[in-house]
Subunit: 273 residues, 2 copies
């Protein structure tokens, strides 16, 4: 293991990523986890299905990872087990499967394992996840909410996530489940963060330098609240629409980039097409 | 009739406006059509229901309009009938009901009646409509499209509308039918216009000076494409997501304003709350 002092990649995926014929996102996840030397730990805690871990083990092995192990955390006690912490210490990539993000946060939150994953990412190891496994990655996590394009007070519930970064708030199955309203509502509380809405089969590969690049067949909707001039969130009641002025929105497709530090979007390779 | 040389009010409504207990939008429509002196012509052409015109006649009368008549145009020939043109000449407010906007455009488009309505609005008379009747008002009209938050090529079909202005493209039932994607797609073709997404029971009262003010219980989503740096619309195929960088989005609730000329949003009376 040769982790640099730079933060590792963070890879949120919008769910339902292609796993059979052209698994571009999962292949790239293996690449940024070390390629042929990748040692991946799969954490299927969000899922209720017993074969989820084994399924990803098989996929990542077929995609060329040297070593893959699914490590389920079913109880909070599992988060301090020495064998598991040792296994996480060895990994070059950690992957959270889909399911319910509140299972991950209630079982892993605050445990030695969660702290170790955060510290490993801070020291250069890749951490990613799909669907619930994407939502969990940031400091402020969308726990659940309503569907709909426009923001409404009470349409979203935030909870603390794994906390790899507080620069963004993630939402997934974005187009498929019509989640712009709840993502914007999440930003209306405190516009400091960037909202990242991931369509299915679409991922944001966030490099150590905080440049996000899109991979996959859908779009990533970036909502930048930095220029917000007014939010009525403090005045409105449950179910009422929220007034929010000055959002910047970019719709990025594969190859396009967004720098979370400078907040600049670029068409990347698309501009040459 | 004392029309000034200023353009009249344009009042698109997102559909399903409150008609019974607190019909704030329809009441305000009567006010900007002359209040107690209002002479309103209702055009129920979009609707397939025979009582739509009579229903609005009754509502507008109860709200204090001096004179109200429903004027159905069922065939293109109706658009040149002298009695109807004379009735439109007298009106201080013209109101299009909901239904299918393609019924209005196919029956009225290019007729003497359509030209007269456009000219009357240009000379100071109020023109508004709800749902399909809102879509028809602008030069570029969303004829139909798909649901979903993210823009996709082919997700929207534009058609020429009544053409009171080309400054904006309207979509209605906005939150309720998840139409942000198709509105943004409409702008991706040519970012010169402003997109206006109207929730149900919500209206944009667009004054002669091009300041839009929101009325009603929902939100108006204003999508300003003026700062767009890149659109991949020319490169993508049907069903593919569109890359679009640099949209500005404002979510306005009752009392908030947007100036279609300067493109400045303001919280209006909300900021004092």
């Amino acid at each position: 293991m040769e982790a640099g002092e730079q933060r590792g990649w963070i890879v949120p995926i919008g769910g339902a990523e292609e796993k059979e014929s052209a698994p571009r996102i999962l292949k790239r996840f293996v690449n940024v986890s070390g390629g042929r030397d990748a040692d991946i730990v799969v954490i299927p805690t969000a899922s209720r299905q017993s074969d989820t871990g084994a399924r990803y083990e098989k996929i990542f092995r077929e995609l060329g990872a040297e070593r893959v192990d699914a490590l389920d955390f079913a109880h909070r006690d599992d988060g301090k087990r020495e064998d598991r912490l040792r296994r996480i210490e060895q990994a070059t990539g950690i992957f959270f499967t889909g399911g319910n993000q509140l299972r991950i946060s209630t079982i892993l939150g605050g445990t030695a394992a969660a702290k170790l994953i955060r510290s490993r990412n801070a020291h250069g190891i890749t951490v990613g996840g799909t669907s619930a496994g994407a939502s969990i990655l940031s400091e402020h996590m969308i726990a659940f909410g309503d569907e709909g394009s426009s923001p409404k007070a009470g349409s979203v519930r935030l909870a603390p996530g794994l906390g790899l970064t507080n620069r963004f708030v993630i939402d997934q199955h974005f187009r498929q489940r019509d989640r712009l309203g709840r993502l914007v509502t999440a930003l209306a509380f405190n516009p400091f963060a960037v909202g990242i809405g991931l369509d299915e089969d679409t991922a944001a590969f966030i490099a150590p330098d905080n440049t996000l690049e899109v991979e996959g067949t859908g779009a990533v909707t970036v909502v930048d609240a930095d220029g917000v001039e007014f939010s009525s969130m403090a005045q409105v009641e449950e179910g009422q629409p929220v007034c929010l002025l000055g959002l910047t929105v970019h719709i990025l497709t594969a190859g396009a980039t967004f720098n979370l530090h400078t907040r600049k979007a670029s068409a990347g390779t698309l501009a040459d097409g």
